[in-house]
């Protein structure tokens, strides 16, 4: 993926991330107590990078996507830090957030059928969005921008003034994407954009997302439970489980050599022409109001060790096989992690218990030299 960012094996000088997420937590109020759907996420996204976010239903990936723009139901809370192009979103005023939404960071939802106002023409949606952020733009100019954006999505200009119900599901999703890109945002968060569509339409949408990834310098966070999509369209992938990222790294590495037992289980569960018997991960995702002690995956983990119930692992770099070194910029372990490197949060790997084994390994290497 040479079009992507160049973190891996790089020197310390790297481009500033378009999105810098640190310690993000998203919680909901429930009668039984607070539910932290996202419980401490660190993630950086480079400009133009496409990052996939995969996990089971209920792992918190949707909450993460929504939490970035703070589009959450009343009573929910966001903690931590989300910096978009250097500006902090968590704790920002409502009007500052409103300005960023749609303009700098755009959201594409799962169900396109109900995301457009049935009483408004499609072009009116664009005009409304454009003029909400660029008040000086005239209606005609905005209409022109709408036509351009829709044309990029393959929607002919003759249909620009039609009503939403006159479009199919796939076309409506294309309209939604067009609405997301019309103001040229820095980051697009697509939450299961193809889940509600059939496979043929899905591949069309994925082509569009892939094109977006290459042509524009817009970052993409693709949230999905479908590993296949991630393999096709993303540079990096982060695997989520029970509100945490359990593994992250370049796509080919993760797929070729998954390190976390959960990731292994996920990949083993996918079906291909070679599948002879079905594989599942036993058990159910944990209750996030009262998560299990230690590693949250331990009740279901085939490689579970005794101390897994006592220590909650953190992401730690894991050695990569093959051409890609899972190295990191030398100054990185002061920050605690290397953004582009392959990391996993599992006690199988040194450093996951919070100590700094890589440092000692390097020193050991150095010593041995």
């Amino acid at each position: 993926m040479s079009d992507g960012p160049t973190f891996v094996g790089d020197t310390p000088t790297r481009t500033a991330p378009v999105a810098d997420i640190r310690g993000l937590r998203v919680g909901y109020r429930t009668p039984r107590g607070p539910l932290w759907a996202v419980d401490g996420i660190d993630l950086q996204i480079a400009p133009g990078e496409s990052v996939g976010l995969v996990g089971e239903s209920g792992c918190g990936k949707s909450s993460l996507g929504r939490g970035l723009v703070q589009l959450l139901p009343p009573g929910a809370g966001v903690r931590g830090s989300v910096e978009l192009d250097g500006e902090e979103l968590v704790g920002a005023s409502a009007s500052a957030l409103r300005r960023k939404r749609g303009d700098d960071i755009a959201l594409v939802f799962q169900e396109p059928m109900t995301r457009l106002d049935p009483l408004m023409k499609v072009s009116s949606h664009f005009i409304e969005t454009i003029r909400a952020h660029r008040p000086g733009v005239s209606k005609d100019e905005a209409h022109h921008m709408a036509r351009t954006a829709l044309a990029q999505m393959g929607i002919p200009p003759t249909r620009v003034d039609d009503y939403p119900h006159e479009f199919s599901g796939g076309m409506r999703q294309r309209i939604m994407i067009a609405l997301a890109i019309v103001l040229q945002p820095k980051l697009i968060v697509a939450d299961e954009p193809t889940t509600a569509l059939d496979v043929i339409v899905e591949s069309q949408i994925l082509d569009i997302l892939d094109r977006l990834r290459r042509d524009e310098s817009v970052g993409l966070v693709l949230i999905t439970h479908n590993l296949g999509i991630v393999a096709e369209t993303c540079d990096r992938v982060a695997v989520m489980y029970a509100g945490r990222i359990v593994e992250v790294g370049p796509v080919e590495e993760i797929f070729r050599d998954p390190k976390h037992p959960y990731t292994r289980g996920l990949l083993a569960s996918t079906i291909s022409l070679e599948t002879t018997e079905l594989h599942t991960i036993e058990g159910y995702p944990p209750d996030l109001i009262d998560p299990p002690p230690g590693c949250r995956f331990n009740p279901r983990c085939p490689d579970r060790m005794p101390h897994c119930t006592q220590i909650d692992p953190v992401l730690t770099p894991v050695a990569a096989t093959g051409a890609h070194q899972a190295g990191f910029a030398p100054g990185a372990h002061q920050a605690g992690f290397a953004p582009g490197a392959h990391q996993a949060a599992c006690l199988l790997y040194p450093g996951a218990d919070g100590s700094r084994p890589a440092e000692s390994a390097e020193r050991a290497e150095g010593d041995s030299l």
Binding site: L71, R99, G102, E111, R115, D117, L119, D161, Y163
Partner: protein
């Protein structure tokens, strides 16, 4: 452009709706016919039984066709209903059509004014209530809606008369017009006629008489609107397209008015149509309290006199009016909501 496409499908939609409403009208008329034939004896005897001799009753019954087989009477009734002949009341010299011509405009004017009040009150309070869910305003608004609908129309009317007419003297206690101020009849709606005749004093008098009965009736029905608009507002505020608009950074007020409010009102058009039936029923009570010379007063008079023919005639007209209104509502719905046109 889309304009020609719209009008074509709109026409088709309207014709379809008419075709579907005819069975309902037929059933209504049949029910009305059967209901009033359920009464024992014949209508003449029931009305004038104690005033005329048996022979005379027989003669009149024969003349008016009440001895014919039921199916013949039914056919005659249906034919008459669809051509405007609603029979001749026994206790009134006018034909039923004549009675209606004299009294319907009064009821219509009252009902329209009341509907205006109801919609204004209902939409305003209901929309704000929905937006400010569970705040004191919401609770107060809902409570107001509930209590005002719980108050019987005739009771409120009496109290209104007591306070605003008798004690404060701001409004007349009843009737439509004073003495010779009536404008020449064009539509029968005195406010409209006053405007046509360019007669400002007649207009003022007409409105002056309308306010008390119209507001009383309108407020009570408005109570229901509050509830309905509020629920619609709550539903649209949590809809997917509202969330998507927020995600695009569209401003608060724009989302509220352009998306939530407009969509919330679409079902209100239907609801208005449905409440019209309630309004007509309530008008009967209002007319009684305020001595308003409308169809309600007429039908009550026929009921008291046991004039079955008169009652049947007016009820038939009510049925037709109700069906026509439901058609109008369908038409407005088609205009407002682009999804509905076939």
């Amino acid at each position: 452009m889309s304009a020609t496409k719209t009008s074509g499908s709109l026409r088709r939609y309207l014709l379809t709706r008419i075709a579907l409403t005819l069975p309902m009208l037929l059933i209504l008329l049949t029910i009305v016919f059967l209901l009033l034939r359920v009464a024992p004896g014949d209508p003449i005897r029931a009305t004038l039984g104690d005033r005329l001799s048996s022979a005379e009753i027989e003669a009149r019954s024969e003349a008016l066709g009440f001895n014919d087989p039921l199916i013949v009477q039914y056919g005659r009734y249906l034919g008459g209903a669809l051509t405007g002949d609603l029979g001749n009341p026994i206790t009134d010299r006018r034909t039923t059509a004549g009675v209606i011509r004299d009294t319907f405009p009064a009821t219509l004017e009252l009902t329209l004014f009341a509907m205006l009040v109801a919609i204004t009150v209902g939409v305003l309070i209901g929309a704000v209530s929905g937006r400010l869910r569970d705040t004191p305003f919401d609770v107060g608004g809902r409570l107001f809606g509930i209590v005002i609908y719980a108050a019987p129309i005739f009771w409120l009317g009496l109290l209104a008369q007591l306070v605003f007419s008798l004690r404060l003297g701001w409004f007349p206690t009843g009737s439509r017009m004073t003495g010779f101020d009536a404008p020449p009849r064009v539509t029968g709606l005195q406010t409209v006629d006053a405007v046509i005749a360019l007669d400002p004093s007649a207009l003022v008098t007409a409105v002056h008489h309308l306010i008390l009965p119209g507001t009383t009736l309108g407020l009570v029905i408005g109570g229901i609107f509050i509830r309905l608009v509020r629920v619609n507002m709550l539903q649209t505020l949590r809809s997917d397209y509202v969330e998507a608009a927020h995600a695009r950074g569209v401003g608060e007020r724009a989302v509220l008015f352009r998306h939530a409010f407009k969509n919330a009102l679409v079902p209100v058009v239907t609801i208005v149509g449905l409440q019209f039936a309630l309004l007509l029923g309530g008008a009967i009570l209002t007319e009684r309290v305020f001595s308003w010379p409308g169809m309600g007063t007429a039908i009550l008079r026929f009921l008291e006199a046991r004039d079955y023919v008169g009652v049947q005639g007016i009820v038939t007209f009510f049925a037709i009016v109700v069906v026509v209104i439901s058609l109008i509502i369908d038409l407005v719905n088609g205009l407002v909501d682009p999804r509905i046109r076939y």
